[in-house]
């Protein structure tokens, strides 16, 4: 006797592929990244940052490019508790979130922060991909402090990489994005991934430094949220 469980589904009307395709990391006992052997080749000759750049671009970087990329990632890494992703992770820690839950909260918050950040720089990114002649004021440094920070980035990169965008008076975030672009990350999604990845370790470190279950020590009224009375 046939049952509803035996009945055909529209999903059964298609001849679906039978295999999932791997394109970057080869599955198996001896994995490769874009063809390069991880254990015998990359682990011996490439830094972790260089392996990430290889993964995102498909090409093994030259030493100077790898060093430049690493330097930019370190510049991009700090994200402090004033910012929502870290704040959220600290609250999760206060709620005794497990490491996997903490990582989920952190990664999600970070991905959102980075998405908005890169979205705000979309026009600038487009300009970087063309022949950049000028930079809109919204991408420029807004203080001497920021200008000094970009100066340090420029000086740090100078021995390794010429970043065309850094000839302008850029703000810190735009400068980091310009440097990532010069490292070979051309698309907004590549830059989003690199920025999120760069920030995740320090974010997690901050959250892990908070005491688990410390919700009674958490400043619940920062920032203040006030209920607005309304008629039902």
């Amino acid at each position: 006797m046939s049952t509803l469980a035996d009945a055909k589904s529209p999903l059964d009307s298609v001849e679906w592929p039978t295999k999932l395709v791997a394109r970057v990391v080869s599955p198996g006992a001896r994995p490769t990244v874009h063809g390069y052997d991880v254990e015998g080749d990359l682990a011996r000759d490439y830094s972790f940052a260089e392996t990430v750049l290889l993964a995102l671009t498909g090409e093994a970087p030259e030493p100077d490019l790898g060093r430049a990329f690493e330097l930019v990632l370190v510049f991009a890494a700090p994200v402090s508790v004033v910012e929502a992703p870290v704040h959220a992770a600290v609250v999760a820690r206060a709620c005794v979130a497990s490491p996997s839950q903490l990582l989920g909260v952190a990664a999600l918050g970070l991905a959102e922060q980075t998405r908005v950040l890169v979205e705000g720089l979309r026009g600038f990114l487009d300009a970087l991909s063309g022949n950049i002649q000028d930079v809109a004021p919204r991408y420029c440094a807004s203080s001497d402090e920021e200008r000094a920070s970009v100066g340090r980035l420029r000086a740090g990169l100078a021995p390794f990489l010429h970043v065309p965008g850094l000839t302008f008076d850029l703000g810190r975030t735009a400068a980091i994005v310009a440097a990532l672009h010069a490292c070979g990350l051309r698309t907004a999604e590549q830059i989003e991934c690199a920025l999120s990845w760069a920030r995740l370790p320090l974010l997690l470190a901050e959250a892990l430094a908070a005491k688990p279950g410390s919700h009674m020590q958490y400043p619940v009224n920062v920032p203040a949220i006030v209920y607005e009375e309304q008629q039902p």
């Binding site: 589904s9 529209p10 999903l11 009307s13 298609v14 039978t18 295999k19 999932l20 395709v21 791997a22 394109r23 970057v24 990391v25 080869s26 599955p27 198996g28 001896r30 490769t32 874009h34 063809g35 390069y36 052997d37 015998g40 080749d41 990359l42 011996r44 000759d45 490439y46 498909g58 093994a60 030259e62 030493p63 996997s100 839950q101 989920g104 999600l108 920032p223 203040a224 949220i225 006030v226 209920y227 607005e228 009375e229 309304q230 008629q231 039902p232």
Partner: protein
Amino acid sequence: MISTRVAKHLYGENLYFGHRSLGDLLGTESMTGLVAMGVAGAQPTREQREVLDAIAVIVNSADPRIWPLKLTRLVSSYGSVMAGYCAGQLAVEGERIGYWVTGYAAAALAELRTAVGDRIDDDAAVDACVRALVARRGRVLGFGVPLRPSDERMDALSAYAQARGLDRGVHWRLMDALAGHLEKDKGVPRNICIGLAAVLLDMGYAPEQTSRLAHFLSQSVFVANACEAATQQSPEMQRLPPEHVEYAGAPRRESPRALARRHESSAPAEYMDDGLPCA
């Protein structure tokens, strides 16, 4: 300072959008009503709540092979209900797949509503506005049904709308006009999202609220798959058998640095099983 209309915890009571949860809502309001209040801030009427409940049943399409549900199960396969549940939610906040599309369909209907104005009974004017909308937008979200000739959820919603008189709503009528054009001229049938958009707009919700409502009313599909997958902890979900994976990336190759190192040391290449050298 941030203001909120959502809630305030008091001694002995919880306010929720101006209502006393324990004093007013308990015993009269449903889960659906609370969700609708969460989306729009206003309590639905009993009739509206019944429609929302019907929608929740109509959109209860939970086959685990549907892409966002499959990913829900993959992430929940290690035993955490919430991890898979959250992952599934993230995958559908957009205009490509899932009930979030309702808001984009609603935006098109709202645009059509503005264009038609008070000429809703003028068939020629409505038709002209429909054609202008389609010409302007090209693709109208809420149309197109994969794998089957019609969307069974839309069919059910149509029957329900007819039985309840919802098909007399302005946005429902505009959807019919739009569907008449797209189905007849272009052969693209309507799907559930345009129907949900019409019903929810006619209930007074804003286009962006229709996305949220349609999505939150479909939570059963994520809950069921996350719960079952977390209970099963299927090894096949956690790790695919090798016969179901193929590698289509770059062929095995030696990196420039490994090559240089090997040449400097005159060391023989270490050959992999496939005969290509590695470091």
